[in-house]
Structures are given as structure tokens and as C-alpha cells.
């Protein structure tokens, strides 16, 4: 019964909720990116790679300029660049979208690993103090986006859970709303959905299929890279090799579970984020003895939740009909 008590204890702890928020945020951004791309009919498994690039670029610019916000902006630029590669290969040249996406992930992993030494002066993971010594930077650098204080009483439950919140977390929720509005309330969104469902029909009505798909994929670059940047400059302030750790794929699962709808994807992201927070809290619970050799098993929780939920729900969601199929104009 100790286990049950430990579990209940996790839910009573305000920290669980604050970690849920930080674990969910990168997933919310990336899954929103996935929605933008796939709603127009382009499968984008490159999210994982774009996130990694976003995390790297934002850290680099934060360290060199001293401003994490410049880091986020440059991450967006880099994210658009990488997404453009995917768009170019899969829209312009009708390439296989899975192959193109996989290639981008591998390139992103290789290139960020390779650039660790030249950019940060060390491999593995960054360390601001060592970086300053190498680059002889004297003024104080804060590589983390400064949190916003919300007006909750300091010692209240809400205050401890959500008192200090990163503006990027708020941006994530705002982005979801904007994304939902674009996709469901604007003419552009109507055209995006038509292109992902039946590009030929859209084409006969004068909708430019290629342009709309480019837009969708580039937007996925914007959001996935912010998601990546949150991991580094939004949360920890460091970049670690392969630090995305499969979050791009969990974001894809969230997108599917959310039925390719920004709001649904956000809710699914929060579910996956909370399971990560749960695993994290449970293994450090004081009520149960967890030997260190067992701890890695807890890290599997988010993935097991993903499997169960996707397995249970996947038949009930419906992808855009032309998702993953390159569009060739017939002559």
C-alpha cells in the first residue's frame, strides 16, 4: 500500500504540476508543428531533428549574445531552414516524406554533435562557466528566458505550482489558439485542409497546392524549433547531445491522438507531459525505496502511456486523406 500512498503523494505535490507544464511545453510546440504540416498532407517526422537544431542554435546564440530571446529567434530561422529542406525534397521533388524526414533527423544529430566542440569548446554538454573561460566573456550571461511571476500567493498550492512560469509556456498556449484559428477560421486554413484531403479537387478550383504545402511545412519548422529551444534556453540553459530524446516522436503521437487538431494535440501533449512528470516524481519519492538500478525503468512510463493510448485510440482518429502522398499535377 506504500506504492499507492506514494502515487497519491505525487498528485498532492505542486511540483508535479509545474514539471507537467515544463514537460508538456516542447510537446505542445512540436505537435502543433506536426499538425500544420500534416493538415496540408505532408508527413513530417523530421520534427525530432528540427527540435534538436532549435535547441542547439538557441543555446549557441544565447551564449554568444547573452540574450536567450535572440537564441529563440535564431532557432526559428534555423527551423524554417531545415523545414524548407524537407519541403523542397518532398513537395517539389515528390520525395518519400519518411525518408526525407529520417535523413533530416540523422543530419541534425550528426551536425549538432559535430559542432559542439567548435561552438562551445566541449563535447557532450555545455557548461556556461567553462564556455566563459574559453571565450573570455566577462559580463554576466543569463542563457535562460526569464520566468514571469504570476500573482498567486507565494506559499499557496497554485503559487508553488504555477507562480514562476516561462513566457515560452504561455507562448505555447497562445500558439495553439492561433494555430486553431488559422486552420479552422481562415480561408488559408480551409485551403490547407482541402489540400491535405484532396489536392486534386483543390487544384481544379484554383488553389495552389504547392504553395499551401510549403506554408504548412515551414510553419512546422517554426513551432518545432521553438519547442526545441524551450528544452535548452527555456528550461535548463544548457544544450546536451541528443537532448530531444524522442520528444519529436512523442509529439507526433500527440498529434495523432489529438486527431490532427491543434487543441487535441495540446491536450494529448499535456497527457504525455504529465506522465513524464509522474515518472520523474515517483522515482524520487521518499515513501518508497527505489534502487538506482531500477530508476531507468521509470523513464519508460511516458512511452508506455503513448503506446497504450495510441493503441486504444488510433482507430478512432482519422488522418487527412492525402497525408504523406506527394501531389503530382497531371498533364
Amino acid at each position: 500500500m506504500k506504492v499507492i500512498e506514494a502515487i497519491l503523494d505525487v498528485f498532492r505535490n505542486p511540483q508535479f504540476y509545474s514539471i507537467t507544464l515544463t514537460s508538456s511545453t516542447p510537446l505542445i510546440f512540436a505537435s502543433l508543428g506536426g499538425v500544420f504540416s500534416e493538415v496540408t498532407g505532408v508527413v513530417n517526422i523530421a520534427l525530432e531533428g528540427i527540435m534538436l537544431i532549435g535547441a542547439f542554435v538557441s543555446t549557441a546564440f544565447a551564449y554568444y549574445t547573452g540574450s536567450p530571446w535572440i537564441g529563440v529567434l535564431m532557432a526559428i530561422v534555423a527551423g524554417i531552414g531545415v523545414a524548407w529542406l524537407h519541403a523542397w525534397a518532398s513537395i517539389k521533388w515528390w520525395g518519400d516524406q519518411i525518408v526525407s524526414g529520417t535523413a533530416i533527423i540523422l543530419i541534425a544529430q550528426g551536425i549538432t554533435g559535430f559542432l559542439m566542440k567548435p561552438v562551445f569548446g566541449q563535447v557532450g554538454q555545455t557548461d556556461l562557466e567553462k564556455f566563459k573561460m574559453i571565450k573570455h566573456i566577462t559580463k554576466e550571461i543569463n542563457p535562460i528566458v526569464r520566468p514571469i511571476k504570476l500573482p498567486f500567493p507565494e506559499n499557496s498550492f497554485l503559487g508553488q505550482a504555477f507562480g514562476n512560469i516561462s513566457p515560452l509556456v504561455i507562448l505555447a498556449f497562445v500558439s495553439v489558439f492561433i494555430g486553431w484559428f488559422i486552420i479552422y477560421k481562415t480561408t488559408l486554413g480551409l485551403r490547407m485542409r482541402s489540400v491535405g484531403e484532396n489536392p486534386e479537387a483543390a487544384d481544379t478550383l484554383g488553389v495552389n497546392v504547392y504553395k499551401i504545402r510549403y506554408f504548412g511545412v515551414l510553419m512546422s519548422g517554426v513551432f518545432a524549433s521553438i519547442g526545441g529551444a524551450f528544452l535548452s534556453v527555456g528550461d535548463t540553459g544548457i544544450f546536451k547531445e541528443l537532448m530531444t530524446g524522442g520528444r519529436g516522436f512523442i509529439a507526433l503521437a500527440a498529434m495523432i491522438l489529438g486527431n490532427w487538431n491543434p487543441v487535441g494535440a495540446m491536450l494529448a501533449s499535456i497527457l504525455f507531459g504529465s506522465s513524464e512528470a509522474f515518472a520523474n516524481q515517483l522515482q524520487s519519492s521518499k515513501l518508497i525505496e527505489v534502487s538506482s538500478s531500477v530508476k531507468p525503468l521509470f523513464n519508460m512510463v511516458p512511452f508506455i502511456v503513448t503506446l497504450i493510448v495510441i493503441g486504444g485510440f488510433i482507430g478512432k482518429t482519422r488522418p487527412p486523406a492525402a497525408d504523406g502522398i506527394p501531389y503530382k499535377k497531371s498533364e
Binding site: 482541402s194 484532396n198 479537387a201
Partner: protein, 510 residues
Amino acid sequence: MYEEYAVVMKGIVKRFPGVLANDHVDLFVRKGEIHAVVGENGAGKSTLMNQLYGLLRPDEGEIYVFGKKVEMKGPKDAIKNGIGMVHQHFMLVGNLTVAENVVLGSETTKGRVVFDLREAKKRVKELSERYGLHVDVDAKIEDIPVGMQQRVEIIKTLYRGAEILIFDEPTAVLTPQETEELFEVMRRLKAAGKTMIFISHKLNEVMEISDNITVMRLGKVTAKLITKETNPREIARAMVGRDVVLRVEKPPHEPKDVVFEVENLWVKDNRGLDAVRGVSLKVRAGEIVGIAGVAGNGQSELVEAITGLRKIEKGTIKLLGQDITGLDPRSLRNMGMTHIPEDRLKYGMVLQYPAYYNMILGKHWWEPYSIRGFLNHPAIFEDSRRLFEEFDVRPRNINMLGGNFSGGNQQKIVVAREVSSNPKFIVVAQPTRGLDVGAIEFIHKTILRLREQDVAILLVSMELEEVFSLSDRILVMYEGEIMGEVRPEETNFEEVGLMMAGKRLEEVRA
């Protein structure tokens, strides 16, 4: 020039690699008429229309719309000139609503960016009311029946200001009732002054709805007829180039022993409702038993249950005295049952496979096609070539992909495969759906040949004409039950029609 005409196409020539699809074609369509363009599959009708709609550009020739010479660079130009097209394969977006589909590409907006759905719905409602095109503006396309989807296509063209509407084989996908509704709409559009071009190869429909007819064959115009002054026989001759038997001769043939037997069969449909409710029937060797009925009265589920594709809730099925209830399709095939499915594209063939694989599907594990688990390609090629000759499949290219054959030739491949397995019992569902007169004649003759060879045949068809001309006995199905059994020579369309509407034979004859 040509002021009295809505459309004039003059001396149109269109070449494709190796084919002269249109050879100096002239088409004159008067303002406000319904003009039928008829011809067999591959006669060049669709090519001609695609040039009028700007999807293809003619190699030679001129096009005039309302007396003005025009050049179409794309569908946009055609739309600008008041031409709209109702495609055979609907150009609709399944997950969008009716209203969204209509306005897509020329959306109503609030402040340029925001989509004004309310205004879109209002405009679609207006159009739908003005022309009697009943649609549900809020329903998603994927949830509405085919007939309504077609009305959405028509509203789409009207929304864009079409004065000339091209209907590309609009009835191919419709039930008889939906066809009647479509004709009603076309009459109303005609009364409103619209001009329509109606592409078809169904002669009775052409006779019913059109004012003038242009007949095409092998890329050329072979006849220009006035509907009132012609008859189906004359049109068919111009289409096929020879006299066609519109109704095959059925020689007398004495049926033998009972081969196939169904006893009190119950089957559920996809929604879990009873679709077949206590059907019993017998088919003897050398006999054709026809099942008539309006589409969706359990015929498809009956066929699927018999052929092992659907679970049987209750009842027994016997083939040659053996109980075969619940056996899978493979065992059934090994026992001598074959099946010409109603949807050849979905169940009849694999469109991405070359014709030679399509020719052996379902018997690919038999010798000589497969020896000890390996495909025996020489035998497959040889038999495919032989069947291509025997069944006159065109083109004679067994390497061509299934999806690239015309509808009639796809069906010939399916028929050739099923018939050549020497069946004892064959289920034939909708064998001539969407085929032209030449192909229909061929398929009907093939079915009668099987009857001569003492095969037991169960024929399911929505075409009453077909059931009457082929069957020895007719069973009428309504809401999953058999309303009665009649012999074609002892009944008429009216009697069967009443049974199709739910009256039992006893009530009809009472």
C-alpha cells in the same frame, strides 16, 4: 459568328503518344439545350470535354463560347467563360462540409483573411433552393450519399456563375432513383436557361433527357442526331459501328440438379443491423437465378455472406450437398465457387498489379500457376495471353497495370479469371455496371454460355432490364427479405417494381 450556339468546337484534333484521341471533331451545342455526347469507352468523349474545360489543350481546331472565340489555358479560363464541369469522379474534399466545398478557392470572407462561413452557407442555400438541389449545407461530404455529393458538384459550378454545364457520365454512380432526381434537376436548369452537355453511353437515358445527340467512335464524330427522330438501335449502331444486340437471345435450357442452396440466412451489415433476414433460395445447374431490388436492400450483404466475406449470423449454405456455412473464400474457391464482385475496383482486382497477376488472383496457389510455393511465371503469362485472346481484352498487353485498362476491359479481365476456373457455381454481382453497350453484350453472352455448360449462376443486379433478359427465375429482395419469386416470361416490370417497393407477390397478384 455562331451566335445561336453556346458551344462550338470546330475541327478539334488531339493526339496522345500513339493515339489520335480526337480526329477533326465538330461539336455544335445550341443555347439552352441538353446535348448528349455518346460513344463507347475510349471513343474520345472525355478528351473532347477536357479540352472544353481547359484541362487539355487541342493540337488543332477552334473553340467558340457564346459566339466568342476562346482559348482555354486552364479550368480558370473555362470558369471565366461560364463553363462548369461535374466530374465523373467527384472533385470534393471529404472532411469539409458541403458549404465549404462549394466556396473553396473563391471563399466568402470577412476582412479578407477570415473565412465567412455564415455567408457561404447563405449563398449555398440560395442556390440550392433556386434550382431544387437539395443539400445539407452543414454535413460533411464523407457522410452524405453519392446523389447529394453530385448535387454539391452542380452547386459548385453554379456558384462560379456557370451557364454551360458539362456532365461527365453523371449517372454511372447513381441508383435509378437518384438518376431520376438528377434528370429533374437538369430539366429545371434547362428551364432556367442553362445549357448542358451530357456525356453518357446509356442509351435509354440519352433518349429520355437530351435534345440533340453527337455520337463518337474511335475519335471521330459518326453521327449527329435529333433525339426525337432517332431510336436506341440507330445510336448504338453509330457508337459501335455494327448492329448491336441490345437484348441477348436466351435459348431454352433445362436446368439439372440443385447445386447451391441457402436456408434461412441471416446476416448483419456494417452497422450491426440485420441486412439479410431469413433468405432461402436454390440454384440448379444450368440455371440463372436473378436477384432484383433497389440498391441497399441487403443484396451486397447476401453476396458477401455467400462468398465467405461476411459473417453469417444464422442459417445454412450448401454447395453440392455439402455444408459450406462459414467457410473462408479460399476453401469456397477450391470447392468450385467463384465470384464476380460488384465493385471491380475494390474487390475485383489489384489496380497496381500487371494484368497477368490480376488474371490469377484467387487461384494463384493452384498448379500450374504456383509450384511448391513458387510462382510459375511462364504458365501465368501463357494463360493470361490465351484469356486475353479468348475474352477480347484490349489492348492485348498483359504487362499493363490493372488500373490502366478501361472499365469494360477491367471487367473482362475479372470475368475471364472467374469464368476460366471452371466453376460449379458462380455469383455474379452487378456485372455490367458502368460498361458500354458492346461490353455489356459480350458479358451477357458469356454468362449465357456458362448456363449452357450447366454452371449454376446467381445474378445480382440493380438493372431490371438485365435481370429480365438473363434470368430463368427472378427473386425480388426488399429490406433483406425475398418478396417473391417470378419467371420473367410470366411477369412484367410493373409487377416486379411493386415488389421492389415492398409488396409481397401475393399482395401484388391479389
